[in-house]
């Protein structure tokens, strides 16, 4: 009976997701010859010898790495503050930090053009304070980094917060009683307990960033472009589905590495509880 219940979703997944993927992967290993399709690694060798494609892959890795570090660096202090303080102010800060969760990224992109874009609010403020104008990050690789940081903050914060729930107030107070400073409490008591959550958070960010589309599309430079817009453009505008699928396969392999991290960390934490 239980099997029957899961049969429908499993069949749907097989039919609508797994099967198309298998078919698509096959097409990336084929070339059309006059005699019909033949096996070949041509589309992969094109990708890895094409400086333009590699540049796009590189900027995706760069954006992912920089954004992940920034998001965790921003989320961790906020999470620590929220975990160890009470009162109205903490509630306000939490709701502000979670606010980006409810803003569609296309609105965010156009709002960011207005604020950090040229002659935007930031420029106006700097000008009012008699500070020099800065070069706008809009249409540079830093544009998507700023947008994606904003976009990824709430989910990261929630994951880190749930990890911090594992840190008992008693153990922190005990450490403080024997004279431990704030930094050593963070390093020896808190971080070891939330390492798993941080890894999960990082995996989520990386997986999301690799397939990011709207923000890199609207805020980033024309070239190099991130894999999301690159795949879409290759598929629709350049009208080359095989190369687009190859790009997707390569993107998928990078994501798969992080998916393995994620699955292993979930499995190990379950075993510990088990």
């Amino acid at each position: 009976m239980g099997l029957l219940l899961v049969a429908v979703p499993v069949l749907l997944v097989l039919w609508l997701i797994v099967w198309p993927i298998v078919v698509a992967v096959f097409t990336t290993f084929q070339v059309d010859t006059p005699k019909g399709p033949a096996w070949s690694l041509e589309s992969y060798s094109f990708f890895f010898t094409d400086g333009f494609s590699l540049g796009n892959l590189w900027v995706t890795i760069w954006t992912t790495a920089v954004t992940t570090v920034i998001v965790i660096a921003v989320a961790l202090p906020i999470a620590l503050y929220l975990r160890f303080s009470n009162g109205k102010l903490a509630a306000y800060i939490q709701s502000i930090a979670l606010f980006p969760l409810f803003v569609p990224s296309i609105l965010l992109a156009f709002a960011l053009i207005r604020t950090i874009g040229p002659n935007g609010m930031l420029d106006t403020l700097l000008n009012a304070a008699h500070l020099p104008k800065i070069r706008s990050p809009y249409l540079t690789p830093w544009g998507p980094v700023i947008g994606l940081t904003w976009d990824n903050l709430p989910l990261t914060l929630l994951i880190v917060l749930s990890g911090l729930a594992n840190v008992s107030t008693a153990s922190v107070e005990a450490a403080r009683d024997v004279g431990a400073g704030s930094l050593s409490i963070l390093w020896h008591i808190i971080l070891p307990r939330i390492a798993n959550s941080l890894l999960v958070a990082a995996s989520f960010i990386v997986l999301g960033l690799f397939s990011a589309f709207t923000l890199p599309y609207l805020l980033g430079p024309a070239a190099p472009e991130m894999m999301g817009p690159f795949m879409q453009r290759t598929f629709i505008d350049v009208n080359n589905p095989t190369e687009a699928t190859t790009q997707a396969m390569i993107t998928f392999l990078f994501c798969a590495v992080f998916a393995v991290f994620y699955v292993r960390s979930v499995a190990s934490s379950q075993r510990r509880r088990g």
């Binding site: 053009i113 040229p118 002659n119």
Partner: protein
């Protein structure tokens, strides 16, 4: 009622609503199929429909919105099938439809020939807009240059490609166009450069003459012109991600000039998104690309005579003036038939030619080539 009965009745009721409703064309009700954006269907519902019904009592206009991936394509197929079986196609007017697209449609006599239909206003149509007598070009749009008159006075604005390039180089950072595949304004600016590099002769590029290699060499000449101006563009060679993003940069005063669609620019000015001080100009040596939307009427339409009346009606100077004023489009008729104040207001944008550029393989080659050649080849440090 037990559970089984309830289920049965429910299923029966639900499937009844799934049955295709038997729709028959009513006498004197014109079914107008529209696959354009909301601004077009709103214009038909709020402007054309009431005006036409007032002028022709007894005839009603039924605006049918057929948006989506296929739009009106299946309806055209239905009209074609109905012609063969001599049945009612249940459509009287296609608001925007290329009569050349449905294979064999013209040969089979599917579309009304407007030049022989006795329309009183047909002779008013701008001859530049007529590609085939089977389509009625009643509204158009063209890419032109929008600029900030407070920084660039009207009498100093460049009106030819060489002048434009000279101006861009003399004013670094003040011009930006969007990536060619992300919106027609930048796309047609890129195509204008390709025209420029190939003797300003749009006839060199047709739907079926793209040849890999040879054609790429033609495109490369245009890309070289764009590479030449790239360092003088906004942020030493940045490109926005669409028509709207370019308009936004112009509105924020970050740049002085952009290429823009005439209808988007005119609408932005009338809605206050762009200030009143925005100027519009078209290049006089060869205009930027544009196009007209053509309406078609199937000859087997149940209300054929009334549909022709409607076709004549949308060409009247009153409706055409509203296409310019409300819709921001270009008129299908010659500008001289429009009110004088409108003519004066748009004197700089009235096109002397409306070049076009084919899509298909050409568009793919332009997108790929531009991203590889023009977009990255700049040091922006």
């Amino acid at each position: 009622m037990n559970r089984r009965e309830l289920l049965l009745t429910g299923t029966a009721l639900a499937s009844a609503t799934l049955l295709p409703r038997a729709v028959f064309a009513e006498a004197n009700r014109l079914d107008v199929y529209i696959n354009g954006d909301a601004n077009i269907s709103d214009f038909w519902s709020n402007v054309i429909k009431p005006a036409f019904e007032k002028a022709n009592s007894g005839i009603t206009v039924n605006v049918v919105i057929a948006r989506g991936d296929n739009g009106t394509t299946p309806i055209v197929a239905r009209a074609m099938a109905a012609l063969k079986t001599k049945q009612d196609p249940q459509v009287d007017v296609f608001e925007e439809n290329d009569p050349l697209e449905a294979k064999g449609g013209i040969a089979a006599g599917l579309w009304a020939d407007f030049s022989k239909a006795g329309l009183a206003n047909y002779s008013k149509i701008n001859p530049l807009a007529i590609q085939t007598p089977y389509g009625l070009p009643y509204r158009g749009s063209q890419v032109l240059l929008a600029y900030d008159t407070t920084k660039l006075p009207k009498d100093k604005v460049p009106k030819t490609w060489p002048d434009l390039v000279a101006w861009i180089k003399a004013n670094p950072g003040q011009f930006i166009y969007n990536r060619p595949d992300k919106g027609g304004s930048g796309g047609n600016f890129v195509r204008r450069a390709i025209h420029e590099a190939n003797g300003r002769d749009p006839s060199k590029f047709t739907v079926d003459n793209y040849v890999k290699g040879d054609s790429d060499a033609l495109l490369a000449k245009g890309f070289a012109l764009l590479q030449d101006i790239a360092p003088s563009l906004y942020d030493q060679g940045a490109y926005t991600a669409g028509n709207t993003a370019s308009l936004q940069l112009l509105a924020q005063g970050a740049v002085t000039m952009i290429p823009a669609w005439s209808d988007q620019a005119l609408q932005s000015i009338s809605q206050g998104v762009l200030p009143d001080t925005t100027g519009l100009v078209q290049l006089t040596d060869l205009a930027l690309c544009g196009g007209f939307s053509t309406s078609t009427i199937p000859t087997d339409a149940a209300n054929y005579a009334q549909a022709l009346k409607l076709a004549d009606f949308i060409l009247t100077p009153e409706i055409q003036a509203q296409i310019v004023g409300d819709l921001g489009g270009f008129p299908g008729i010659k500008w001289e038939f429009l009110p004088e104040d409108l003519q004066k207001k748009y004197a700089d944008v009235v096109p002397k030619s409306i070049p076009t550029f084919p899509g298909g393989d050409w568009a793919s080659a332009i997108s790929d080539g531009w991203y590889r050649i023009v977009a990255p080849n700049v040091s922006r440090s």
